[in-house]
């Protein structure tokens, strides 16, 4: 099976400091991979490099494109990469404000993405938007409201709808449940899980919350000081951690 994403020797330096170093992994279709590590471990730098938001210094990010098969994203032209991030990729920010247009209605936020990939029929765009608002459990009568009138959890669900409406194959998520109340978090976790299953989506999820990765991710990589110190099946890494740092991380979680 061809990996959907193949990452080889990805390195990003900030002057003399290391952002992330020599990161290598394969992600297969339908897999959800978690990246954990404390603040400053390089997990967000890695996600930004993968998603084309930050140019790495070395390495390759090979994506299995629909049209031309596996291609190194880092060697694509800027318009090609932008097209990819509008169609096959999704990026869900921790703060919905970074991923939504706050001055545009909820329906507009979702419909805009359909227009960006060529949809022109107003009725169909609105119907597509309404369908997705329903899927992320936003009531139909809120379609014309702006996200500023939404709660944090609703904003995050709207951001997910906006990102998934174009049927991407790979979603990057940066702390998607961070900053939300636990009650809202649970509902969002369930939503992400069912969308991943129904759409056959692959996802890379950065979080510092080990309980969240256990429920969302099939596989896990653990980062420390910019390097991957351990990788494997999520429950195996959490229940039988091999590296000292992972053991420390797992044993430091407070029990409820």
């Amino acid at each position: 099976m061809t990996p959907l994403l193949s990452v080889r020797g990805l390195t990003k330096r900030y002057g003399p400091r290391i952002g992330c170093a020599d990161v290598t992994f394969d992600l297969f279709p339908g897999e959800v991979m978690g990246i954990v590590g404390e603040s400053g471990s390089g997990k967000s730098t890695l996600l930004s490099c993968l998603a084309g938001k930050l140019p790495p210094d070395e390495g390759a990010v090979i994506f299995d494109t629909r049209g031309d098969g596996p291609r190194d994203v880092l060697k694509m032209s800027e318009p090609e990469r932008r097209m990819l991030s509008r169609t096959d990729w999704a990026f869900v920010h921790q703060n919905p404000r970074d991923g939504l247009r706050m001055g545009v209605s909820a329906g507009g936020n979702v419909g805009e993405r359909l227009m960006a990939v060529g949809a022109r029929n107003y009725g169909r765009i609105r119907a597509g938007a309404a369908d997705w608002l329903g899927r992320v459990e936003i009531a139909a009568d809120r379609i014309d409201d702006r996200p500023t009138a939404f709660s944090g959890g609703m904003q995050q669900r709207l951001q997910i709808a906006r990102n998934l409406v174009t049927g991407p194959r790979l979603a990057f998520m940066d702390e998607p449940t961070g900053g939300l109340d636990v009650s809202v978090q649970a509902r969002l976790l369930d939503l992400i899980r069912s969308l991943v299953r129904e759409l056959g989506l692959s996802a890379i999820i950065v979080t510092h919350d080990l309980a969240v990765v256990r429920l969302l991710a099939d596989r896990l990589i653990v980062m420390k000081d910019g390097r991957v110190v351990e990788a494997g099946l999520t429950d195996q890494v959490l229940d039988d951690p091999q590296h000292g740092y992972t053991q420390l991380l797992v044993s430091s979680v407070l029990q409820v």
Partner: protein
């Protein structure tokens, strides 16, 4: 060929944050479970029954040896191969229910079926039948099992484990906190799974249950590393 085939398996835990202490817990573990057979792991508490079972599920890494499940060597397989194995071939009923909070019980039980591609209606029908058989009142099906009693949670876990007809099944104390009627139901679920050809490996402290469904016993004390015997 046996469905589950374990040979030469060894395991040690290295505690990096406690002076790098190395604790060998298993050595030379070997067993087989054929299709249609139920094998019980026995041995005193701490002898390594759960450790061995976790290694077979891929939850603990094996240090040495071979663990073949349906032809895949779990001790060496890539994560994605183990994910596929767990989805279609190898089921596991643990003592703990780990689910997303606030997800309805019916959805929790349907999930393994949806993951192997069953239609929503078929999955719902099977899940409802199992929950009814395990005497979970219908008014609870739309509620999260995390609010249930220990015995109810265990029955939800069992329903989830038996929803898809896995060819191989690991059972960790499936009858532990059940009343007589539910215990009988679980024992018939196990017998039915055997009859359709499932290979089952289980830990049963309940001797009556062991006698009722198990064909053989494997005492894991034999795999305790030398010098570690209690």
């Amino acid at each position: 060929m046996a469905m589950i085939e374990v040979s030469g398996v060894a395991k040690a835990f290295t505690l990096h944050n406690q002076g790098g202490a190395v604790i060998p817990v298993m050595q030379g573990a070997a067993l087989t479970v054929s299709a249609g057979e139920c094998v019980a792991l026995t041995g005193s508490s701490g002898a390594g029954k759960s450790t061995l079972m976790r290694m077979i599920y891929g939850n603990y890494l094996a240090g040495e040896g071979r663990i073949l499940v349906g032809g895949l060597d779990v001790a060496r397989a890539a994560p994605r191969e183990i994910i596929a194995l767990r989805r279609a071939t190898l089921g596991h009923v643990s003592q703990f229910l780990r689910v997303v909070p606030r997800v309805p019980t019916i959805d929790v039980v349907m999930e393994p079926l949806l993951r192997v591609g069953a239609g929503a209606e078929e999955a719902r029908g099977k899940a409802e039948a199992l929950l009814a058989r395990l005497r979970i009142p219908e008014r609870l099906w739309s509620l999260s099992p995390l609010t249930f009693s220990g015995g109810e949670q265990q029955r939800v876990n069992i329903a989830r484990g038996f929803a898809h007809e896995y060819p191989a099944l690991l059972l960790d104390e499936p009858t532990a906190s059940l009343d007589a009627a539910n215990r009988a139901t679980v024992l018939s679920l196990i017998s039915e799974a055997k009859a359709r050809g499932a290979a089952i490996l289980g830990i049963f402290h309940d001797e009556g249950a062991r006698a009722a469904v198990c064909d053989r016993e494997v005492d894991v004390s034999a795999f305790t590393p030398r010098g570690m015997a209690a």
